[in-house]
């Protein structure tokens, strides 16, 4: 039996009828066509499917679409528009820019999840130490980079965002 849900995704409200067992990641990818959210392990371990649900990083393969009813979701597609001062004119979110500048990715499979988890980290802790960054990203696996460049990308973003505030 389908259920009515209303979810705000990247600032746009969607009214949908979904099967209760539909996972949020499939809702985003297959129903809304937002394929920037990746599926890595399907078993809650890799973090590739991470999105922000009401501002908190969650693994969207471990949340039902119906659990997001009435909530706000941010995916990688909507992040840039939320960056301070960016608005509709495009450009990159400072965390995206950090991954670009510091070579925080190789194949890019883990990147959307890495970036969204990092966004929550910097929201909670604008000046994280290396240990704090590593701890915050413990739920996001990368098979390519060896993580070091990812740490540097997050540091770059932290610096850039703190400058923006001054």
């Amino acid at each position: 039996m389908a259920v009515e849900i209303q979810v705000r995704v990247n600032g746009k409200t969607h009214d949908s009828r979904v099967e209760p067992r539909l996972l949020l990641v499939h809702y985003l990818r297959d129903v809304l066509g937002l394929t920037g959210t990746h599926i890595g392990c399907e078993t809650s371990l890799c973090g590739a499917c991470t999105v922000l649900l009401d501002g908190k990083a969650v693994k969207s393969c471990t949340v039902l679409a119906v659990q997001a009813d009435g909530s706000e979701v941010t995916t990688i597609e909507g992040l840039a528009a939320q960056a301070p001062g960016n608005g509709a004119k495009g450009g990159l979110h400072p965390v995206q820019e950090g991954f670009w500048e510091k070579h925080g990715l190789q194949c890019g499979y883990c990147t959307p999840g890495m970036i969204l988890t990092s966004v929550q980290l910097l929201e909670d802790n604008p000046d994280p130490s290396e240990a704090e960054i590593r701890r915050a990203l413990a739920g996001n696996l990368c098979r390519c980079t060896g993580y070091q460049h990812i740490i540097e990308a997050v540091r770059y973003a932290a610096k850039k965002m703190s400058k923006g505030k001054r």
Binding site: M1, R21, L23, S44, Q67, A136
Partner: protein, 292 residues
Amino acid sequence: MIPAAFEYHVPKTLEETLRLLERHGDEAKVLAGGHSLLPLMKLRLAAPRYVIDIGRLRGMSYIREENGQIAIGALTTHADLESSALLLMRCPLLPETAAEIGDVQVRNRGTLGGSLAHADPAGDYPASILALDAEIIAASTAGTRTICARDFFVDMLTTQLRPGEILSQVRVPPLAPRTGAAYCKLHQPASGFAIVGVAARLTLGKGGKIDSAAVGITGVGPKAYRAAAVEKALRGKKPSPKLLADAARHAAQGVEPLSDLHASAEYRREMAAVFTRRALERAIARAQGKKA
């Protein structure tokens, strides 16, 4: 990996939840954070006919002082426990335990009530809940009852909760004077779950002897337990590194340790002693007012 089909209910109140549970009995599962239930449903290890989503019930996520105890709502997330200013001040053992669970994403979704009700033998909270002598409040259409932590865990994935009951609140005592507590965990590196997790709470008497000792251990046996032999070896004694190490050797006494892919029974027994010693050392140092 998609769960089997189910009928979905989102009750608005606790009363409505309890009526639904009463009506559907064993065929229903409540869904809190979903971070134990949904993985099981995706693997089709669980296929409930009715899923009752309590995740957004109002007024069940809180941490507050009540009649000299700290009351925590069942839907309080691991992340909220980890960062609660009240708990960090009055019962730091719980934030220390919550911080060891999974990763940020898991802590954002998973709840205290769900974790205790699930009673995973490798879950973290059971050790601390036991060491704190916490009280667990269960609600049903018949009313509420209080279950003490020692009676709550029955077996692997089995608790005292009856069909039709939900865990509504957990009550813990604030840290007493001259008391130190600590949680030390050996992580399974891939899943992050506990191979061994030890929570210790020690209170020193006026003369510096150990007045009371409570040690809860998870990961070792099919359910978390109080290490009575360790506690007995400590009570009334003056703490020394040797005393703590000797007492810790009894960590798995009377328990048949689990043996699996990640750790043999022998290894678990050995690590139970090591991590018990570490938890005792840290708890004593804190009881003595040292930074640890």
